[in-house]
Symmetry: D3
Subunit: 320 residues, 6 copies
């Protein structure tokens, strides 16, 4: 059953520090390639940070996430899932943004994901700042609004910044709800914390039925209970997962643009993602890894480890 | 009610990385300035590390705490307090120490805080090493001993070091109790851990009725329970809060002079501080951030985030 | 003669690591302030990196340059110039860009510098990426083209990137020549090196009479000889100086977006700038310091040291 | 009772940053020295990383562990044990490996520990990669298999890598069980996590009766419960303790060769080790600290703090 | 003439931080690929540091050199050479070593380069520690000894270390001369410096006619003069170039295993390599970049910039 | 002739990263030790930074200088001197300062060096900030003023700071001249640069006949010419050498408290020191290495490399 063409290079054969770094050592394929048509899950980079309101650098995220991803092995330690044997996974390369033109870059990203969608590939994306989720949702939700499970310190539901910016990394999900790509009543945000400008984002979320779970509530109730609620919120319909690395405490993931103290540890993050197995997933992303703010690569290692957790639940969702 | 003259620059107007960094983007005022008389809470730096027995660098703390503080926004995420609308807060600049003369520097610090006290301003201080709490207490407690809630890995109750040093960052609270600035029976120390030289500090504390809570006890009982006891210890009378950044585990706050492993995370620290709302606060400090030991600024980000927590309970205390 | 209101805080009085960091510890003034009208030279930050084609981070430049600038003292070591006694210098704060809107940010920068120009202040700017020179030139050269002495590893004379970007940090001087803000025949570029895309920039420069001096020629001829030529090129008319920190070898200044090996050391850079005393200067900038790529601050220390060199020749130019 | 010849230099007398760094500021002794015969516990470095399959650098571990160890004081904060007054402890220097000859280095290490064993000294070792436990076990278990308590993210029970390597840091305990140095039924592994190549290691462990406790089980049951089981597994017979620093979450200990996210914090690690007091200990090691991956020294500080915890239970075991 | 199949991705089209990093953004080919037969120059990584006597980490060199190499553009700034239009260049991936078996790794490297040699491809190698030059020479010089131009702080002519190691990074060229892969009289070593163990290496070199140029002589005579001599030494016959990054001063290239102060700057290094155009080159390598000792990537940027210089003279040599 | 008891451990026998780090792997001796009486040159640490006016951290200098010094080998590369075979050298440990008491620390240092002097040992000191030279001179020059060759970016001839500090790292040589420990007419200062407060230091120097050579003059005349003058200034009488690491450009030695750009490279520094062979040396120091400002250790590597250069000329001076 296992498709030999889609198996990653093993660290038993080639040391994990060797070789050209594709995502998880998977084959890198482009539309014209013979194997491309067999791809079921595509790992894609969006090297973009033009939507960043504070510290930039997320444009370097996909490169470093690929680098660290070569330390990922074949099998999940608790579920025993071997994702590369369950679904045909491949690295589909990077979207090519124009770092000096925000709207053009959004358009290019939409086009890239429309092709992915049309080719029947489920995308697992490595950002990039959180604005990248917007064009992905635009492509994936063209025909009906999606539900979304959103791990983040911030709501990203603000209206605008700096006297008139509609599209930046603090606004994507407000835009997506306004544009009908997300069904607010099927959106759950987990891990919110940090000082706020005002209540504009919270009120928008409440008005559209978004479920918002603060970090204190998460820690008091625990991952299993919160995720039971999250699954209920999104229900059985198509759902997207977006994971902002700043959801995790900056001691574990310092390399990000807008860190907020008081977040969960990585084990909590892993346990949350593992509760997604019953969800009907149409895509996922891991965003806001900013390598210049953690040149050690430790944040990217956290990031790709979470991507592997996401991949394991995606393949299970896919095969149901 | 909100005093427009004391509002910080908003990150919606000027990006948070822009502008000259005052504490929390507040106006910087000096005694002669027109607005100075309206100040209720003063944020002050004491750039000093001459009391450090091990790793220096805390002299650079105020500079970096100001830098990172521009990422603080206007509103507390759980209490909803908007401190800058509740009390008139301002950056009052730095005490000017003489790095080669310890006693002279203590005197200058005492003089600075006597003026603050006489001007009716509640100080929120950014250290500097922990010795800076001593001259602050000397100024604030000139007329009667204070109670104190003390977050720290160490008691700072030692008698002396290196064959005869009475004033360094391991001795401030012994001196303050001896000199009558603190009432030992109204002092509670939380988070103690790390290897010890001997029992001299513990025995001094016990003799003077200091309540000492080890890290294991804190973690087993939880923040709410421990802080209920702390509030009982200090009672309704005037109380000072001192927060040594090494209270927090060095994974979260590595930039400090005497790190001890096995500490709490930042969420625990936040929850502890939030329990101070019913306390009669006359001042607070956040000390021992040493930027050279964490050039990333992450420790300073933890530090100013805790300063914001302290500020929110201070304004509530002030307005009761 | 010395204006006491414009003297920086001395490191003899307040240690250089203390206090709120304005540029070179000068007073920070805004248009409404009483002293503002007396300002002759304004130090200004443009915290912007939206024009960056590769590594971002220059938006954090002004903050860190101010931080390190507090190590600058009052007197130049070889010329003996004491600039703050020669001209009234002040920190005029930062331009407020919109990091998600390039054209709007350019407009805001133009407006800021038009006011500076109209107020008769000579600007010494801290970038920001090299695109910031374009709006500054647009303001300063509104009435006639300027000459320019340009220290850089790159010509910044390219036409566009990424399928259609006209304004980024590789294009400012092509735009400025095209728009009549620079007289190509009075422009000299010094220190060019690094691999090239093609000859498009070189050919544009040649066509417009730009003098281009490669790094090898600079090192072989020496600073004095090259600068004699540079002075001849710009002549006695009004001239702008732009100094890209990547002119200096990345061993000395690693914190920049587009480093090229094989550059000059800092002493060579200092000697070059010192040869500008006879030039008719209307402004200068130091750009492309990107703190995230050198969190030590060493690059910013090089940057502000060069800014001090520029300031010393500017005050001499001003007083002639 | 306290042997004055074996007391470490006190930080009250000589600042902790001063002096030549031996382990915990103990005397450094060699076989010929007069005091050598009185040594009961020997702290030894094995500067070796030739068994590393991924990131090297553990060869630099002993040097940095010694450096940071000078911050250790005399007394344990919760047990009150003063280990240097209970047993004669000394720094016995480093094994001298040949970094280009793996088998020769193993032989040299075996010989070093055979001498230690024959001299009646209990070794507390600082690695080095985890392969160093194998030659130590070979020396200590020459006459009968030992039990072992093993803190690690990995089983280190693999058979071989890279087409035929039998001895590397992923195989030591498989070799030790095969060779009769460990009794699998008296081995317990705690903290296992991270992606896996396959089930080969798990199956080998199960076949030999190894008790394996995943990280989730550890966190759910808590240190006391897990360690009660561990003590039951090893029973009253001679037992070795091996502590791989990657057991601890990489936020706390990033400087290691094969980090896995989702690990415990340092307080959990301390509490686990403290449960070893009733165990019959014949030696212990702390391995896999790789300074080049954390030049701050923070990981080494965690490492030596754990070594002190191990030492405190070792002296208690010794004196029973 | 230009072969479109072998052109690197342009930074004008895809930002240089985007995409999967192959060497200089060239196609990555393997023996079975259709284009493989057209390859003229192959860029190859040897991720190996088992020969390192001091600081390890060079195994991570090829990965980081590829990462930084995406900043290389198409054209040499002084010669105007556009190497990718002159010769068909490709990334041929990494040799797969066994990090725990030195002799096996040497054999695998020899086999890899024998295939390259038999396929008529000129190799440009990225190390790896300096031992990797030995198996490359063994493959390339199987039929006759080569001449060699060797840039290095060290002779690498020692006989052995640590009581019997014949193959480590201090011995490769002694072995190569002994084994007849190098003709000592056609070997020139440039840049020697640093403290020495003894004169064993120097005497071996003298005995075999090796030309040794100390750093002082290089700096006093200058690149052109020294390289004229070097060209004379190697003459018109086949010659290999090996460039140890520690040739360059550690201020410019700190990320290496055995740094020696007092070295040349990068411009001197570039000028030296540019003098190789008339040499009959059969291969070249750039070795000893150790990323863990410079996580900023600056050393790797120096390294790939030198690789580009080497490539430009190699294509000129190839086409003569 | 070579004294086997004073030979350092060879890197051929024990890898240079192994073992407890004494200075240059020499034996560590104390007054009571049998070999102590045979010591001719003593390497001593003064872990002190209480005289620092800006960035602290030099207290950590001796520790890191010892660490890096294990990379030093036995023989000088150009002179061929094997210092450990010429004179009996030993590590004599650290002076024990009191970091909170400046005057007491000066007294302890004087006492330490008086003993060294009385024991007929020539000291080679590793600082510590530059104030440490003052108590050393006080001990060595008790009976007659010394000449001094002083490599530094600063004169250290200021009178006082911060409203009354007489002893800090900007004043030692003014105090030493005033107190008669130095003969100003036999003092030469080389490498002066950086911005100045005022001319007070220069005028004091001139008044006392100090020869001051600015960096520009040094670079224009070259090491040989400048040192010929320096030798003439100090003449044949007893002379001390003090080397502030900030003499060297901060690109090469960033880890220091008061960096000034525009300095010489390390080869220039080496060549300057090598010109000291004919000088009558009574001691030397290398100061101002501040590890927290360069955790890589690169600055310390420069520092110990210069210490080795100093040692080689000291042994030659000793044996004349």
């Amino acid at each position: 059953m296992t498709n030999a063409d889609f198996q990653p290079v093993s660290g038993f054969d080639l040391p994990r520090y060797a070789g050209i770094p594709t995502f998880m050592r998977l084959p890198c394929l482009q539309p014209g390639d013979a194997l491309y048509k067999e791809v079921e899950i595509g790992l894609i980079g969006v090297p973009w940070d033009g939507g960043t309101s504070n510290r930039p650098g997320a444009r370097h995220g996909p490169r470093q996430l690929r680098d660290l991803s070569t330390m990922i092995r074949a099998e999940h330690p608790t579920s025993g899932v071997r994702p590369f044997e369950v679904a045909n996974c491949a690295d589909l390369g990077d979207v090519s943004p124009n770092p000096s033109d925000l709207m053009e870059s959004l358009n290019r990203t939409v086009a890239f994901y429309e092709r992915i969608r049309d080719d029947g590939i489920i995308p697992l994306t490595a950002g990039g700042d959180h604005l990248v989720s917007y064009p992905i949702l635009k492509a994936l939700a063209a025909e009906r609004p999606l539900g979304m499970i959103h791990f983040d310190a911030h709501t990203d539901l603000y209206d605008g910044y700096f006297g008139g910016t509609s599209y930046n990394h603090g606004t994507p999900f407000r835009r997506a709800i306004e544009d009908g790509y997300l069904d607010g009543s099927r959106v759950v945000q987990i891990g919110l914390r940090g000082t706020r400008y005002d209540l504009d984002d919270i009120e928008f979320g409440k008005k559209h039925g978004v479920t918002m779970i603060m970090i204190e509530e998460l820690m008091d109730r625990g991952p299993a209970d919160v995720m039971a609620q999250a699954r209920e919120v999104v229900g059985g319909k198509e759902t997207y997962v977006t994971f902002d690395i700043d959801f995790i405490d900056p001691a574990f993931a310092p390399g990000t643009g807008t860190p907020e103290i008081g977040g969960p540890d990585t084990l909590t993050a892993q346990r949350l993602v593992r509760e997604l197995t019953a969800v009907n997933l149409v895509g996922a992303d891991l965003v806001e890894v900013s390598p210049p703010f953690d040149q050690s690569g430790n944040t990217a290692w956290v990031g790709v480890s979470i991507m592997f957790e996401l991949l394991c639940v995606m393949v299970q969702s896919l095969k149901k």
